[in-house]
């Protein structure tokens, strides 16, 4: 590093007296400052790594089935629950007053701190709470009996306790046959869900369609016109046959429900209170303390599968996030479809067509800056312009029969995508421009000299070279778009969308529908649910999923960028 050290300087000091001392000034090395700089960098790295560790550790371990502790308190009470985390805390003076002297002394020796563990006790329908703090000094015994089971239910969250009995078709059977009985019950439940949601939903949709047709005819021809009468009669006839379908389907659902009610599971919580639930309402049941590693892995993977493929339950705190994944994906895709042509065209205009001058510089700076305009501003614009003004006009012209309930005149998939497209178009423009600028001038000139037209040059020479850069820009835009939540809160994201934006009912893609989004899911479950503690594991997994999604996109952008650089370093003219 430094040229001469103090040692050498001293050695030279013995030489002619007038020679300048060549020692090194220790303060010139600025060591304390260097450590300050390096410490800041290290702090930054620790911040990001710590953050990712927290998210990924919590996210990855959430679905791993933990043991269930049976805790006997000194007061005699017994608690069964999954330990979730423990921490040090300061008992309040009133708490301390109730303790005996030895415990108090122990706490005092720890500067007034005691340790407590948060148990997930479940059984919300019986206890009225999901979680319970247990301080170490309250505990007299901890054990893990093998007969305790964890039951995930459709309603009321998990149940922790023992299995008392299984009843199939009103006959008590061995608990060992549980697995087969459960499979049958679940199949039946899926069938009921299928009938009630999809098939009856389709009938309802067609009925609604008929009602709208009549209303449309009334608006177009007036109530007294023959056209109206004809359509009304036609719809009434159709409605009659739909009514028969409806009755048939609901009878079928009724029958299945009655059947399902005859297959039950009786559970007992640790205090002895029994609870009987239909077997079909059991999502998963496992004896937490009797699982081998492979069984645990099985439960872990099946929970992951449920998370990725199922619909949310219990105010989004349980079940899966499939609609949110789908919504995020559909919205991002639609955004890219919009943003790609417009971004590229604008960049082409700015770089290849517009005369380079002060004006274009100003435009370029402004476009660059728009990337820094807060996303919430775009959200406000999207709501005010797209949803209210554009959507309102579309409703007036194309869907007058549905008014006053809005079709496009409120937030929806289309408006969200357009808002995010506006938000990300500067990213694409900047990236594309850079990519276009990186194409050597000589290649353009060569192409033109060979007689190609300007457009032919752009299409065949410039764009292919710039394509990796454009792709990088698009992927970065997608990553930004997929992670944005604030504007979506204004233009179409909902906590629970009953229908996916793409389904089997004509016209298959429903751009006006509101949708679910992974980012909003995090906000909603973390902040709007009845019990944020119960939702926390879910939020961690969703967070992990979202970060993984975005990190993958960003990483691929970086890979493409690097490949692009290599390509051009190699093929420089």
């Amino acid at each position: 590093m430094t040229a001469i050290t103090a040692h050498e300087g001293k050695a030279m000091a013995g030489a002619p007296a007038r020679l300048r001392r060549q020692g090194v000034d220790i303060s010139a090395r600025g060591e304390p400052f260097l450590w300050g700089l390096g410490g800041a960098l290290a702090f930054g790295v620790v911040m990001i790594l710590g953050f990712l560790f927290i998210v990924f550790w919590n996210g990855a371990t959430t679905f791993w089935p933990g043991p269930i502790d049976l805790v006997t308190l000194t007061a005699g009470e017994r608690i069964a629950g999954e330990p979730t985390r423990s921490e040090d805390y300061r008992p309040t003076t009133s708490q301390l007053a109730e303790l005996d002297d030895a415990t108090r002394a122990r706490i005092a020796a720890r500067d007034g701190f005691a340790t407590r563990t948060l148990y997930r006790v479940g059984n919300f329908d019986i206890y009225g709470e999901d979680f319970r703090w247990v301080s170490d000094f309250q505990v007299s015994r901890r054990e893990q009996p093998a007969d305790l089971a964890l039951v995930e239910r459709l309603e009321w969250g998990v149940f922790i306790g023992q299995i008392k009995a299984v009843t199939v078709d009103d006959k008590a059977v061995e608990t060992a046959t549980f697995a087969t009985a459960h499979k049958v019950a679940r199949q039946r439940w899926l069938r009921i869900a299928d009938i009630e949601r999809d098939e009856i939903g389709a009938v309802n949709h067609r009925m609604e369609q008929g009602r709208l047709e009549v209303r449309r005819a009334e608006l177009d021809h007036g109530k007294s016109s023959p056209a109206y009468a004809r359509i009304a009669a036609e719809v009434a006839k159709r409605e009659q046959s739909l009514g028969i379908d409806y009755a048939k389907l609901s009878a079928e659902a009724q029958r299945l429900r009655a059947e399902a009610a005859r297959t039950r599971l009786t559970l007992a919580e640790i205090g002895g209170k029994e609870k009987t639930i239909p077997l079909s309402a059991v999502v998963r049941l496992y004896p937490a303390n009797a699982l081998g590693p492979m069984d645990k892995l099985g439960v872990y993977l099946s929970r992951w599968w449920e998370f990725l493929s199922d619909e949310p339950r219990e105010a989004n705190t349980e079940g899966g996030v499939w609609p949110a994944i789908f919504g995020t994906f559909a919205m991002t895709l639609l955004m890219v479809i919009v943003v790609a042509p417009f971004g590229v065209i604008t960049a082409l205009y700015l770089r290849e067509y517009a005369r380079q001058g002060r004006l274009v510089t100003i435009v370029r700076i402004s476009v660059n800056n728009l990337a820094g305009v807060p996303s919430i501003v775009y959200g406000a614009f999207g709501l005010g312009f797209f949803a209210y003004i554009l959507g309102g006009s579309i409703d007036q012209f194309f869907y007058p029969e549905r008014l006053p309930s809005p079709t496009f005149g409120t937030g929806g998939l289309l408006w969200s995508s357009l808002t995010l497209a506006l938000l990300t178009v500067p990213v694409v423009i900047v990236a594309t421009e850079e990519a276009l600028a990186a194409v050597p001038r000589s290649m353009r000139e060569g192409s033109l000299a060979c007689g190609a037209s300007k457009w032919q040059t752009i299409l065949n020479i410039v764009l292919p070279r710039a394509m990796p850069g454009i792709m990088t820009g698009l992927i970065l835009a997608m990553a930004r778009g997929a992670g944005e939540v604030a504007p979506l809160m204004l233009v179409g994201v909902v906590k629970l969308a009953p229908e996916l934006p793409i389904d089997g009912i004509f016209p298959y893609v429903h751009l006006e529908r509101s949708f679910m989004h992974l980012g909003f899911h995090i906000y909603d479950v973390g902040f709007q649910s009845r019990n944020s503690e119960a939702g926390k594991p879910m939020v961690f997994v969703t967070t992990m999923l979202l970060i993984a999604l975005i990190a993958t996109m960003n990483a691929s952008a970086i890979v493409i960028r690097n490949r692009l650089k290599r390509k051009f370093v190699g093929s420089q003219f």
Partner: protein, 874 residues
């Protein structure tokens, strides 16, 4: 590739050199599409700002007259006591001084049936109508009162149920869509229906309350349907004020109403007081009597049997006559009008040193723009703080009390007599004025945002129920008489607070980290460290907000003392480690330079954090009286120890500057002569000495500061709230650090290599090179990075929504939350009614954010461009 055909056959024909049409067409089309598309996208992007501005503009435009109509009522030469109109301003009712009620169609003046009241020949001397509801009360010359009601009976009926004999109404050749059968008006309603509006009235029996003529009266209704009660306050000719309670009971067997009157007398007014009007509140706990000579007598009647004269206020200058005394909705604001044209709003507020019996006093909260002549008539809004006043020349001003603005000025009648009675339509969208003799005029007005002015948005405004003018944001509440308080100042303050605290944390880390990465880190390490830091930028802010609010906030709350101390301990520990490092023999140090040293930073960090956690109880006792939260409240300990920590870094800078100027050079020269280990020791001793000196200095400063009553508590730190700025600032770091870091690092890196080489060749150490050559050259680029980072912090939404608590307050407390502009938009816009005042205010907030970030970024971009140009020239 323009010509392809015929090239295979050998020169038989001449090659066709024309460009094929399709190539030309494609070229033209592409040209057109790209030009038009490009310009359109650019315009669209700029249209955002235009759109936001267009939504905001109506906030600042006043009202306008949409339509007007005039009519003449047949009752000539009568004066009118009262008038009112229905919600759709189709029908109006006027009560004349002799008690006759006239109902008429406003657009045409056509009369319809109205209730006829029979007063048995007695002369009416006073009249009042309750501001809400349909109750009216008459006072007579014989000291009796009669209560009654007057209301619009509105019904929506199917379009084909209007009577066939109803005839169309028309005036001056203009046909109206409304029809009448003489009893009611049939007006078209949405979706082909008809609205039938008629006027209904009832009059109770006379009740004797006073032996002499009633001169002023007011009434409020209450009770239930089965047991309606009516409170009436009356002033008689002797100046005797009576508070009467008229209670009607329905006999459940006979279903007949029985009415009872109980009266209480209030202290008598001074003899000869010329009473203009008397007012009472709905709870009948305050009674105001306005006298023509300008005095307002306020009675405290919380206990009606022992009511007392609480205050005699003089709201108008001496010699000015009082002409109007009335409430606005909510009965907290008292409107006082004088014959000098003044229109002032008074509030009854608790005032220390008030010379009143109940400790309250009438305080002038708003002095509205005065009329040029005496105020003659007044009308209050039924839904907000709007009011109309007419002066004696007949000019009518539509005003808003809180914003103090005149929304609309309606001209005086050309010729004819000035208006003597005015009324504001129930939806504040019409003004009805009547001149003596029945000449009336009606204006349909549009004043959608009377409550907003530049002053109400950015200035201090005195709201009802507040002790003094304030900056307040409170957009909704449960009660009807609530007035939205829309000052952007607390929100802008919140944004600035979040930005400043987060930059205080993020800028040092990002800049110092960038300098280290660019100048001292090995290239290979840099290639991994930089992407790791940049990865921070890709974390979605909703994730950051979630971690901040649900994970970090509870941890920080539990370990707040440790966190506060760590902020000072970590730099201190790093410096200490550096002095120890200097003591390592140079050859060993050189070998450890690079990755091991970089890893050592992490070790020092981790050890420091562990040490702080270990010693937290002791440190908390030392600096925060054993409990930081109680200390921050100001309930325990003194502020001095923390002040010492806060001042020590500043003192250290001062001490080392002074030392450097005086003996620094000599010590440095002396150090050169010493062997490295000894030099390191002396350097450490010097640093320790400076540190001790700095602590002493800080102690002295803190003591002096405290001696003058200064305390950081109540300012920078105060009561601890879980969702606070400390957490927000820290987590916002994740959003801001990578931006500043990347831009600053790029700027430092793009300083030409020959500058670096030249500096090192001249004998400068890398540290000297970095700080005196590289950093000054790259300064503008670094600065641009900070500006862009600031732009991001200003607009960050989800983190503040989730972690900042969203309370719109104005204080710098690090331990309290804030409500930022962006969070406010996200929280309130989904609920805001389209084109309502709140909706436009939120768009104004969005516009403010847009402009703030746009200006910041443009400035940064220009600075950066300039830097690039200069760096290229070097």
């Amino acid at each position: 590739m323009s010509t392809t055909e015929a090239s295979s056959s050998i020169a038989a024909r001449r090659r066709d050199k024309r460009t094929p049409r399709r190539v030309l067409i494609a070229d033209r089309a592409a040209d057109l599409i790209i030009r038009v598309g490009g310009i359109l996208v650019i315009l669209a992007v700029f249209a955002i700002m235009a759109f936001l501005a267009q939504v905001v503009v109506p906030l600042f435009t006043g009202g306008r007259v949409v339509a007007e109509a005039s009519f003449i009522l047949p009752d000539k030469a009568k004066r009118f006591l009262h008038q009112t109109l229905d919600e759709t301003h189709t029908v109006a009712v006027a009560v004349a001084e002799d008690g006759t009620v006239t109902a008429y169609h406003i657009a045409t003046g056509a009369r319809i049936d109205a209730p006829a009241f029979d007063f048995a020949g007695k002369r009416i001397t006073a009249f009042a109508a309750a501001p809400v509801g349909s109750d009216i009360v008459f006072g007579f010359e014989d000291g009796t009162i009669r209560q009654g009601s007057l209301k619009f009976a509105t019904a929506i009926v199917p379009g084909d149920q209007a009577p066939a004999d109803a005839k169309a109404l028309a005036t001056g050749g203009k046909a109206s869509a409304d029809r009448t059968d003489g009893k009611a008006i049939f007006a078209p309603a949405p979706v082909g229906q008809i609205r039938r509006i008629a006027v209904e009235g009832a009059l109770g029996r006379p009740q004797q309350v006073s032996p002499s003529a009633i001169t002023a009266i007011d009434t409020r209704s209450g009770g239930t349907v089965e047991r309606p009660t009516l409170a009436v306050v009356s002033v008689d000719r002797e100046g005797q004020i009576r508070l009467s309670r008229v209670e009607s009971r329905m006999n459940l067997l006979t279903r007949r109403m029985r009415t009872e009157v109980t009266s209480a007398t209030l202290p008598v007014l001074p003899p000869g007081t010329p009473v203009v009007s008397v007012l009472m509140t709905s709870a009948a706990d305050q009674i105001y009597v306005g006298a023509r000579d300008g005095r307002v007598f306020r009675y405290d009647s919380r206990n009606p049997d022992r009511a007392e004269l609480a205050e005699i206020a003089q709201p108008l200058p001496a010699g000015v006559e009082l002409t109007v005394l009335s409430f606005l909705i909510g009965e907290q604001s008292l409107v006082v009008g004088g014959n000098n044209g003044a229109v002032d709003i008074f509030l009854r507020l608790q005032r220390a040193g008030a010379r009143t019996t109940d400790g309250y006093a009438l305080v002038r909260a708003h002095a509205l723009e005065p009329h040029r002549s005496a105020v003659a008539a007044f009308g209050a809004s039924q839904r907000g703080k709007m009011l109309i006043t007419a002066d004696v020349t007949g000019e009518i001003w539509l005003r808003h009390a809180t914003s103090e603005q005149v929304v609309l000025r309606l001209p005086a009648p050309r010729g004819g007599q000035p208006y003597e009675s005015v009324a504001l339509a129930p939806r504040d969208d019409g003004v009805l004025a009547m001149a003596p003799g029945g000449a009336g005029r009606f204006w349909t007005v549009d004043a959608p945002h009377p409550e907003t002015t530049w002053k109400s948005i950015f200035g201090k405004i005195w709201y009802e129920g507040f002790d003094s003018p304030s900056y307040t944001w409170q957009s909704s509440s449960g009660t009807d008489s609530f007035e939205p308080k829309l000052s952007l100042v607390p929100l802008i303050f919140g944004t600035i607070k979040a930005t400043i605290y987060s930059l205080l944390f993020a800028v040092p880390i990002a800049l110092l980290g960038a300098i280290y990465t660019s100048e001292f880190l090995h290239r290979r390490v840099r290639n991994t460290v930089k992407p790791v830091m940049e990865m921070m930028a890709s974390l979605p802010s909703v994730v950051l907000g979630f971690i901040a609010a649900l994970i970090l906030a509870p941890v920080v709350e539990a370990w707040i003392a440790a966190v506060m101390i760590a902020f000072f301990a970590i730099p201190g520990a790093l410096a200490a480690a550096a002095f120890l490092w200097q003591a390592i023999p140079p050859h060993a140090a050189r070998r450890l330079e690079g990755v091991p040293k970089f890893l050592l930073f992490f070790v020092v960090l981790v050890l420091t954090v562990l040490a702080v956690i270990w010693w937290t109880p002791a440190l908390e006792r030392m600096f925060f009286a054993g409990d930081l939260r109680a200390w921050a409240d100001g309930t325990a300990g003194s502020g001095v120890p923390f002040l010492i920590i806060l001042l020590t870094p500043l003192a250290l800078v001062a001490v080392s500057l002074v030392a450097g100027r005086t003996i620094g050079e000599r010590v440095n020269v002396a150090l050169r002569a010493l062997p490295p280990f000894a030099a390191a020791g002396v350097d450490l001793a010097r640093a320790l000495a400076q540190f001790l000196l700095a602590v002493l200095l800080a102690y002295a400063l803190a003591r002096t500061f405290a001696a003058f009553g200064g305390d950081v508590r109540g300012g920078l730190v105060d009561t601890y709230v879980q969702r606070n700025t400390l957490v927000v600032g820290f987590v916002m770091g994740f959003a801001v650090i990578p931006i500043i870091y990347t831009i600053a690092e790029d700027a430092l890196n793009s300083v030409p290599e020959h500058l670096r080489a030249a500096s090192l060749a001249c004998g400068a150490t890398p540290w000297q090179t970095a700080i005196s050559v590289i950093l000054p050259t790259a300064m503008s680029g670094v600065f641009a990075g900070v500006m862009i980072g600031m732009g991001r912090a200003v607009g960050e939404t989800m983190i503040v929504v989730m972690a900042a608590g969203n309370t719109p307050i104005l204080d710098w407390n690090l331990f309290n939350g804030l409500r930022a502009l962006s969070a406010n938009i996200a929280v309130e816009l989904p609920e805001a009614v389209k084109d309502g005042t709140l909706y436009r205010m939120l768009f104004l907030a969005a516009l403010a954010l847009f402009v703030m970030t746009f200006v910041l970024n443009t400035f940064a971009e220009i600075v950066r461009l300039r830097f690039r140009k200069r760096a290229a020239q070097l």
